[in-house]
């Protein structure tokens, strides 16, 4: 039991040092802007379609479920703010984080893992070039930039999904849907969602890069690293979401 705990502690410490070293390099030149742009495209391009789809259907399902409950207490007019606040504060960043983990996080872990087993990372090191600067730093910065952007898109599409169900299918007036939203949503709600998105970006890129960077050898090693990156990122997103949520209640 004690040995297991110490081993877990050592691994967590190793992961944390990996993150600290990478964060330090974010502020130390030379900066790799080209690689940063490639990574932004990597996250955005891979995840945009799935974000649009999940955003729309999350908003639609949410509107249906909330409408069902609100109708019982005669407060259907609150549908707009209920959908918007739920998505912006909670579902947007969390579902967006989970979707990007599945799409881009897994690909990131696999890509870096393959670079490890084909000695491309050793090649960088042998040229006296720090692989963290070339592979990890651009990924973390790109995630910090793209996660809030993709979350914003998710939020927007989700709210329009709710509008479609509430207004077009269930007969609520468009004015009620949006005007109540303005009354009940604050800038704080939006900021909370964005804080979450940024922190989930750090979690997903950090875990995925770490798992790829220290993958075991062979195809099996890369496969394990990819699975482990997705599972660990998803679990950490949900745990971290709870802690952030409890801070902003």
């Amino acid at each position: 039991m004690g040995v297991c705990f110490l081993s877990l502690l050592r691994r967590l410490g190793h992961m944390f040092i990996f993150l600290l070293k990478s964060c330090y390099l974010i502020f130390v030149p030379p900066f790799k802007f080209r690689m940063l742009l490639q990574r932004i495209r990597f996250f955005g391009n891979r995840s945009l379609l799935v974000i649009l789809l999940t955003g729309a259907f999350t908003g639609m399902v949410l509107a249906l479920q909330i409408y069902y409950t609100l109708r019982k207490v005669g407060s259907e007019a609150m549908l707009g703010p209920a959908v918007a606040v739920s998505i912006v504060r909670e579902l947007g960043p969390v579902l967006c984080g989970l979707m990007i983990t599945g799409r881009a996080g897994s690909a990131l872990a696999a890509e870096i893992g393959i670079m490890r087993i084909t000695e491309q990372i050793d090649a960088l090191t042998s040229m006296a070039l720090n692989p963290l600067r070339y592979l990890i730093v651009p990924s973390i910065v790109a995630a910090v930039i793209t996660f809030p952007l993709l979350t914003s898109i998710f939020d927007l599409v989700g709210i329009w999904g709710g509008y479609f169900v509430g207004v077009k299918l269930l007969g609520l007036s468009a004015g009620t849907y949006f005007s109540k939203m303005q009354d009940f949503m604050t800038m704080e709600d939006i900021f909370i969602g964005m804080y979450k998105a940024v922190s989930f970006g750090v979690i997903v890129s950090w875990v995925s890069c770490y798992k790829g960077f220290y993958t075991d050898f062979g195809a099996e090693g890369v496969s394990k690293a990819t699975t482990s990156a997705v599972v660990m990122s998803s679990v950490l997103i949900l745990i971290w979401d709870y802690f952030l949520g409890s801070l902003f209640v």
């Binding site: 084909t118 000695e119 491309q120 050793d122 090649a123 042998s126 040229m127 006296a128 070039l129």
Partner: protein, 249 residues
């Protein structure tokens, strides 16, 4: 000069290098032979600081690289060019991009000069006109030649070759050997080559060393090794199943 003294390394209790001593003089091309899984690649990775030894020292031009920090180690690595076993070309870059990469990242050369040198290096290895191809689009032999061009583009004083001809047909194998000999004559680097190519290697290397049971059992000129009375060397260069080296059966 490269001098290895008392190098020991084990992985999970298995001794791979067991007090290994070796000296490679300046501008000498040293071939290291030995059975598969005998620790040759591990030895090569120690030379460039990719693996830290359990005991012993690795002196590169008078500096013990096992006792220096990352910054000093990077200064030493600047003297190296490495041809990895699987070529380790960057998948995302074209052949031109791979060869130009060390110049772009390590020097302040103008774009035009980088292009000129990279194209000339491609021509030296017989791959003119293929600069826009990606590593996935070319054969194993071509990859080895690109890796050689990339390793030599910065005109390093030490070049390490990890099985540069493994898995290639005899003709391509000979052409790679000839390429190594001509570039060695042209640039005058100190070379360490891991290989299984017997007897061809006796025509390529200045010195040959045999690694067995984690130590160098004998090193000398190709003629000395060819005429050695050591039963391990005799068995290895004749490929006999009878002798001190365990065969599969």
């Amino acid at each position: 000069m490269i001098e290895i003294v008392g190098l020991k390394k084990s992985f999970n209790g298995q001794h791979v290098l067991n007090g290994l001593n070796l000296r490679v003089c300046n501008k000498e091309l040293m071939a290291i032979i030995g059975k598969s899984g005998g620790g040759k690649s591990v030895l090569l990775k120690h030379l460039i600081g990719l693996i830290k030894p359990d005991e012993g020292s690795v002196m590169i031009e008078g500096v013990d690289i096992t006792a220096v920090g990352e910054r000093e180690l990077d200064e030493i690595r600047d003297k190296f060019g490495v041809v990895f076993q699987g070529s380790a070309l960057f998948d995302s870059l074209t052949l031109y991009g791979n060869i130009a990469f060390p110049l772009r990242e390590k020097t302040k050369m103008a774009k035009g000069e980088i292009r000129e040198r990279a194209m000339s290096a491609l021509e030296d290895v017989g791959l003119q006109g293929m600069e826009n191809k990606f590593p996935a689009e070319i054969s194993g032999g071509m990859k080895k030649r690109v890796a050689l061009a990339r390793a030599l583009i910065t005109e390093p004083s030490i070049v390490l070759f990890d099985e540069p001809t493994t898995g290639l047909d005899p003709i391509i194998c000979s052409s790679i050997h000839r390429l190594i000999m001509t570039t060695h004559e042209k640039y005058g680097f100190t070379g360490v080559m891991i290989t299984h190519e017997i007897p061809e290697i006796f025509d390529v290397a200045d010195k040959v060393a045999m690694l067995y049971n984690g130590t160098i059992v004998e090193s000398g000129t190709p003629d000395e090794i060819r005429n050695s009375s050591n039963p391990v060397i005799k068995q290895f260069i004749t490929g006999s199943l009878e002798g001190p080296i365990e065969s599969l059966s």
